[in-house]
Symmetry: C2
Subunit: 489 residues, 2 copies
C-alpha cells in the first residue's frame, strides 16, 4: 500500500509531500501552554491535532521526537512586549511564588491531557529552564548585527533583518503595512522601530522572575524560548513546527527571524497550524464571558453547558472537523458528537461477536485504503471518521443478518477499527470505566430479584443468588433495613 503522506505547509500555502530531513527520524516541535490558568478548548485543539499527527507518524513507523514546551516565563500580557508577565501577575494576585503557579497549572494541564488521551511528548522543556540557551542565542543575534541593546534590554532589529530576509513570509504580513499600522506605544521608545521585538527585557525592581545576563538582570522575550529549545532538542533544522493559527503572527514569524539570524538558515521544513475554536460563533475569551475550561466540560458545571461532556466526547468533537477548519462549539454539536462516538464504540463491541460467512457483501480492503487515503491527505480526520461510520454500517448490517462477511474480512475490519479508531484517532471506550455507579446499580437489580424470590418463598432462587455472588467474592448481609453487600475480606 502506498502511504505517501501529504501535509499542508503554511509557509508555502500548499500541500506538499512529507519527506523528513533524516528519515525515519522526524523532529516535531509544538507550542505548548502558558501555565497560568486552567486548560480550555483552545488548549485541547492543538494538543489533540498534534497528538493524532504524532500517533499517525509513529503508526507509519517514523521515529518521532515530539517536543512541546511549557511557557513559565516571559509571556507578557501584551504581545507588544509590555505589561506584566502572565505568571508573575497570577502569582502576585494569589500571593504565591511564580513557580508554584507554573507547577500547579502544568500539573492540571497534564491531567487534562491524560483525560483527553493525548500521548505525552518525548520532551517537555520549560522556558525558565533554558535561560542559558536563550542568552547564548541572543549573543549570536547581536554578533551578526541583528540585535541591539538599549538600557539592559535587547531587541531584534526587524528592519535590518528584512533587508536580506522576508519578514512576514509565514503570516503573509507586509512590513510596510505593519510599520504604518503600529502606533508607538508608551514605553516602546527603547525600540528603534515598533515592529522590533524583545529578546531580553531588563527586570523592573519588583519583578520576581529574573536571571543575570550580560545585559541586565532580566528575563527572555517570549518568542525566544521556542527558537532556543527547538534548536537544542531537534537541531538547527527539523521537520515539523506546529501550533495554533493565533501564533502565526507575531510568535512564529519572530521564531523564523531569530533562528534564521542565529543559524544562517531556516530551521523548519513544514509549518502546520490548527484553526481556532469559536463558541456559538463568537471568539472565546475570558473577557467575553464565554470561557469554558476543560474541567467544566467534564463536570458540566458551567452555565453555558446543558450537560457534562466526557473527555472522549470532546476529543471526538474536535476530530470531527479537519484541523485547518474553524470549529464552532455548541451544546447541539457536542451532543451529536456524543451520540456518534457511542455508535462507533457500540459497533466495536458488536464486532467481537460477529459471525463470518462464505462471502463478503462489502469490500473491506477498499475501505481500509480509503482510511489511509484520508489520513495521508493532511490528516483528514473527518473523512476518516466518515469511513469508519461506513464500517459501523457494515458491522450492524452483518449483525442483523442483512449482509455477510468472510472470516478474513472480519479480521481485517477488526484491525481497521483498532488501527484507525484506537491507535490513530486515540479514542477509547469510556462507558464502563467512567461509570463507577454501575456495580451499585447492578447490585440493586440483583438484590431486588433476591427480595422478590424471598417474598415468594422461592428460596432455591434466593440461595442461588447468594451462592453465585459468593463465587465472585461478594457477600450479602441482611439487615433490618434490607440487604447490603460488600466485597469479601
Amino acid at each position: 500500500m502506498d502511504h505517501q503522506l501529504v501535509v499542508y505547509n503554511t509557509l508555502s500555502r500548499k500541500k506538499e509531500n512529507f519527506e523528513p530531513i533524516n528519515s525515519p527520524f522526524v523532529g516535531m516541535y509544538v507550542c505548548g501552554p502558558t501555565v497560568y490558568g486552567d486548560g480550555h478548548l483552545g488548549h485541547a485543539r492543538p494538543a489533540i491535532t498534534f497528538d493524532i499527527i504524532f500517533r499517525y507518524l509513529q503508526f507509519l513507523d517514523y521515529k518521532v521526537r515530539y517536543v512541546r514546551n511549557i511557557t513559565d516565563v516571559g509571556h507578557l500580557e501584551n504581545d507588544a512586549d509590555e505589561g506584566e508577565d502572565k505568571i508573575s501577575k497570577k502569582a502576585r494576585l494569589d500571593q504565591l511564588e511564580p513557580m508554584e503557579i507554573a507547577q500547579y497549572y502544568s500539573d492540571r494541564y497534564h491531567e487534562n491531557m491524560d483525560q483527553l488521551n493525548c500521548l505525552k511528548p518525548s520532551i517537555e522543556p520549560r522556558a525558565s529552564g533554558h535561560i542559558i540557551e536563550q542568552i547564548e542565542m541572543i549573543k549570536k543575534i547581536i554578533e551578526v548585527g541583528l540585535g541591539y541593546e538599549v538600557d539592559g534590554s535587547v531587541y531584534f532589529d526587524v528592519i535590518k533583518y528584512s533587508k536580506t530576509h522576508e519578514y512576514g513570509k509565514l503570516s503573509g504580513r507586509v512590513l510596510e503595512d505593519l510599520l504604518s499600522n503600529t502606533r508607538d506605544l508608551d514605553g516602546q521608545s527603547e525600540k528603534r522601530n515598533p515592529t522590533d521585538f524583545a529578546l531580553w527585557k531588563k527586570a523592573q525592581p519588583e519583578h520576581i522572575m529574573r536571571w543575570p545576563s550580560p545585559w541586565s538582570d532580566g528575563f527572555p522575550g517570549w518568542h525566544l524560548e521556542c527558537s532556543a529549545m527547538s534548536t537544542k532538542y531537534l537541531g538547527e533544522q527539523f521537520d515539523i513546527h506546529g501550533g495554533g493559527m493565533d501564533l502565526l503572527f507575531p510568535h512564529h514569524e519572530c521564531e523564523i527571524a531569530q533562528s534564521t539570524a542565529c543559524n544562517g538558515k531556516e530551521s523548519v521544513k513544514y509549518w502546520l497550524h490548527n484553526n481556532m475554536i469559536t463558541i456559538n460563533g463568537q471568539k472565546m475569551g475570558k473577557s467575553l464571558g464565554n470561557f469554558i475550561t476543560l474541567s467544566d466540560f467534564f463536570s458540566g458545571e458551567n452555565k453555558l453547558l446543558e450537560q457534562a461532556y466526557s473527555p472522549m466526547t470532546i476529543r471526538f468533537f474536535i476530530l470531527q472537523a479537519h484541523y485547518r477548519s474553524t470549529l464552532d462549539f455548541s451544546n447541539e454539536a457536542l451532543q451529536s458528537a456524543e451520540k456518534g462516538l457511542k455508535r462507533l464504540m457500540t459497533a466495536m463491541d458488536t464486532i467481537v461477536n460477529l459471525k463470518s460467512s462464505e462471502t463478503s457483501t462489502s469490500n473491506i480492503k477498499e475501505l481500509e485504503k480509503k482510511c489511509y487515503d484520508a489520513m495521508n491527505d493532511d490528516f483528514n480526520s473527518p473523512i476518516l471518521i466518515a469511513h469508519l461510520f461506513e464500517g459501523v454500517r457494515i458491522i450492524n448490517s452483518v449483525n442483523d443478518g442483512k449482509e455477510s462477511i468472510t472470516a478474513e474480512d472480519l479480521t481485517l475490519l477488526k484491525k481497521l477499527f483498532n488501527d484507525f479508531a484506537i491507535s490513530i484517532l486515540g479514542l477509547k471506550n469510556e462507558s464502563l470505566k467512567n461509570n463507577n455507579d454501575l456495580p451499585d446499580k447492578l447490585m440493586e437489580v440483583i438484590l431486588n430479584l433476591r427480595q422478590t424470590a424471598k417474598t415468594n418463598k422461592d428460596y432455591a432462587t434466593s440461595d442461588k443468588i447468594r451462592d453465585e455472588l459468593k463465587n465472585i467474592n461478594i457477600v450479602i448481609k441482611d439487615t433490618k433495613d434490607g440487604a447490603v453487600w460488600s466485597e469479601e475480606n
Copy 2:
C-alpha cells in the same frame, strides 16, 4: 486539643518541638529521583514518608511549600565525582537524547506517585533548568575562598571549610577518618584533597549535556542543585530538609557546606531522614538481582513476587513501619499488609450503616487523642494504625451488637477515620475502582437468573429483569449463543 508536634532532627540527634521559622508558613525540601530508570521501593519510601508529613502539616493548618527536585543532570555513576553521568549513559545505551530519557522516567515516576496517592509537590524543579542559579552559587563560593578552579573544573575546599565549620556534623563523620580512609583515585588528582567535591565539572568532548560557564563548558556537581534550588524556592533559611538516609553522606553533608559557605549561615532547621528498605534482609540493588520496580509490584510480574500487590498495599506496608525504622520486604509481610488494609477499608464501609444507641461502650474522644499523639510524636504511623485498628474493633463490635455507640460518638468516629486514614495516611479504597471486571461478573449473574426464569417459563421474572436493566440503560439482546448485553445508545 494540644497539637505540639515533635520531630526527630538528624542534625541534633534528638526529638525537637516543631516550630516553623515563619509560622504558619513551612518550607520543605525533599531530594527527588534521578530519572534514569523505573521507580522502585527505594523511591516509594521517601515519597510516602514526606507525603504524610506534607499531609499532616497541612492538616494542622500550616501553609506548606513542598519542593521536590528532579535530578536530570550531574549525578555521576560514582559518588566520588567520577564516571559517566547516569542519564547520559542511559541515553547513550538507548540511543536517545538525554532529555528524552529524563522526560520518560519523570513521567513514569509521576505515574507511580499518582498510583501511590502521593500529593504533588508545590514545585518540582529540574536540575538542568537551574544551571544559572548553580553557577551563581559557585561564584559566591569561590569569592569567599572555599572553591578553587583546576583546568575548567571547580571543587569545594573541604579542608579549608572545616577550619571554621564542622564538616561531618550531620552524618557524624570525622574529617580525619575520611581523609585516611579515602584513596586517591585515578582522575581525582585535580582535587587538593580527596574529600573535596566537585561544584563544576569540565565536560569531556563526548559529553552531550553541557552548558557554558566562566570556567568551562561543563555541568554542575550533583550536590549543588539541591543547595541552589532550595535557596531559590524556599529562601536562605527554611524549615525541613528531607531525604533517604543513604543521602546523609556525602550529599546532604555537602549541601550544608555549600549553603553555609554561600549564605554565611546554615539553611535547614530540621533534617529528616527516612530509613532504608531491605529485601528479604538484603540491601536492594540492580547488581544484587533483587531489584523490584513499582510497576512489577502492581502487575506481579517479577520472579521474587508471589502475586501482584496494589499501590495501596505498598503504601500501607510502608506506613506500617515508622519512617526511621528499617523495613524488610517479603511476600509474607506484603500479604499481611494487604489483609490489614482490607480489614480497615471494610470497617470504613461498615461504619456507614452503623446504628447509634443511647450510650457508648468506648471512649472515642480518647481514641482520637491517641491518634493525634501518635502523629505528633515524629509522625508515628504504625502507632496511629494500631489505634485505627482499635477503631475497627469497635466498629465491628457495634455492628455485631456486642457494643454500642452514641450518635455523637459515631459522628466523631467517622470523622476520625476520614481524617487519619484518608486525609493524613492518604489511603483510599481501591477495591471497586480497580475491579473493572465487576460489571461483567454481575451481569453474568443477572443473565443466568434470567435464563433460569425463562427455562422455568417464569416470564414475569425474565421480563422484570429486562425492564429493570433498561431503567439503568442496559440492553439485553438474545443471540444464538445466549444473551449479550451493552450499554444503551
